[in-house]
Symmetry: C4
Subunit: 231 residues, 4 copies
């Protein structure tokens, strides 16, 4: 009994972050879950990407306890644990400080849905959760960050299976998906959508949101019952 | 009798998109036409660029029917088909979600002609077709997208042989040309012109359009009867 | 008797343009002069950089006549010829459509001297020559472009030996120097200074120009009689 | 008795600057100190990065006198000397003209603390020292630049051991750290923070500064007595 498969999956996904231009130094982490055993593999804290190996991935349970591994896990581990525990449909989670998405998070604004690039992946504005209350910050901070994300989805009536990304106000983005590779894909999509939305407002401060018919059409051609995108 | 030549042409042109920085993941596609046989070769849907081969290109007729190939063609195939069917002078078509051109499309603005980089390739503002009516979107969407582009050119009195690029409002750019390579060239030119136009307005919100004498001069030195650019 | 030395110099300098990110496709050209023979070597028109060879450089005299070479020279050749003819101290000339410098040219604004990066290379705002009169454009356009640049310097009392760069309004930048390599260096410096100046105004629309004491100090430590920069 | 260790350290750190995209040509320099001998190794002036060797690093004492080495040291050497002399806790210093940080310096504004990326490294706005008085500029300029930096910290009650970066108004950034590698790390962090802060204000001109509880939390998890970031 070992954790080779999720370690490899987490390692492969982590190594995509610098290739996609989403991280400076160690400012990001990916995890991959094994639901049958109730654990996930996550990047060790503060280790440069070019020093990572599959074996260096740390195995953690859904309460944030280290189960296996020699290194300390990512400082954001408890946020991952909370999301895995409560959102049973997700298989991978990513956290980065990618430049454009983080700038929207710092600006404390949702990213408006301006075009089909956005609508291919989400039918709503990308939510920005508000900064946490001081008591949450001073308490079990990374644990509470997970709840801040979930509370934001509950309050807005969003489904984490449809909206696989969020900005944490003043902080940075988190994304997830059916596996770690899909979560990384979502991080790259979010970064591009964030960049385009900033430019769109600069080109036309009165740019309108995408009309409903286009939102529906683009979502359904990729995700609906009669989807015809891909193989 | 096979389709090797247009498959190779379409493959080569598709592979230029990531090299030129015009696509993230699979967000783009190129096709190349064989007018003598009434078909074109186009990228398969959702396949990563580094997994493409010439043989994977799908052969489609001008009504959008697959003629040869094992994979499903690009979800934008019907837009290509309509343009090939009605605009008989074009040999290649490109669709991307390149960042700056897409931002103008999302802003629903024509790109003003601000300088000679633009005038070397177009004598007019780059048109942004309005978003489609709901009935068109809910109907045969990609088919109607082709008509939306053509209607925009008809209404403005533009000739597709002179203006080889368009923005589809809220969506993204399409470009074309005498062959697939020229269509890709036009996509890269459009992206740079879009970037410069955005910066130009930021540096000087009152920047004037290019004067007519310069528009005429730059167009004619590249495209007029006494053109003297190139070999 | 051949032109190998300036052909090599022009070739080497041209090949720096794509490496420095200053050109898309063939949108730029460099020339190198041989004053003793009254000729210069320049990039052939419309030839991609990766197809260039030293032998493909075209030899032209100061009236713009081809002296040696099989290809047609750059369409901007007459502008180079005029500048070499009248500004006897320059050994190389570069023309590009680099993104940020061209955006300032399109905005028809001088680039304000905001910092020491600028002052290390120029003591004044980088001049933007106005767009040419229609009669000049309709006449011998590239020839007149050279005079437009020189007239701008004359009217402002600038010395081409101190200010080695200019924006041509609505068009794009030209730079020069004691040789082709220095002219290329100046193009890269101009592009960075243009980028920083745009950002500076965005961060602080009321950003003041650099104070005179700093302009003088930075210029003199690199170019004055007691310069102490470099080896 | 030789200086091989600090020469190697300074060389390695200098070579990171172009890799991290922080310098154009020779517009930057790094030094590494040997406190036991009262000297530091610094990049030679105006030498391209790809021509550097460890042996080419120049050894200088804290009064700016060359102790060993064949080349002239960086023109900014006296600024390094002053900071090493008066701030005894620092082991390496970096100066660059990186694009975004320099733009804030030219705008003469502190970089506001907008998010956790910033708070992970600093608890305060990144200070921008005012441009120097004319008498300082006309005097021993680079020597005075060091005092301008130190005066800024004194006036604001900042500790150089906690805030390891500064903008010099109208000029560019300096960073430092316990060694040269850490100083380079700080330069890259500063550049990213500067870029995000500019975008944050563009996305939301009324973006609020980070709340105190988050500033405290992020600083302490990386730097406090119970830090839990890294291995």
């Amino acid at each position: 009994m070992n954790f080779d498969i999720i370690r490899q999956e987490a390692y492969d996904a982590n190594m995509q972050l610098p290739k996609l231009g989403l991280v400076l130094f160690t400012f990001g982490n990916v995890s991959a879950v094994d639901r049958s055993r109730g654990v996930f593999a996550i990047k060790p804290s503060g280790v440069p990407y070019d020093e990572l190996t599959p074996a260096s991935m740390v195995i953690v349970d859904f309460d944030g306890n280290v189960v296996d591994g020699k290194l300390r896990p990512s400082s954001d581990t408890k946020t991952h644990a909370v999301l895995y525990k409560h959102w049973e449909g997700i298989g991978g989670i990513v956290h980065t400080h990618s430049v454009f998405a983080t700038s929207w998070a710092q600006a404390q604004r949702d990213i408006p849905i301006f075009g089909t690039t956005h609508a291919d992946h989400n039918t709503v504005d990308i939510p920005c959760a508000p900064p946490m209350a001081d008591a949450m910050i001073e308490g079990d901070y990374e644990h509470e960050t997970g709840f801040q994300i979930m509370n934001c989805f509950t309050e807005r009536g969003l489904d984490y299976r449809e909206v696989e990304m969020v900005l944490v106000g003043n902080h940075a983005p988190f994304t997830w998906g059916k596996n770690a590779a899909k979560a990384v894909y979502n991080s790259a999509v979010l970064e591009t959508v964030a960049q385009m939305a900033m430019y769109t407002e600069q080109i036309n401060p009165a740019a309108p949101r995408l009309k409903e018919a286009l939102i529906k059409k683009h979502w359904e051609r990729k995700h609906g019952p009669e989807a015809y995108y891909g193989q």
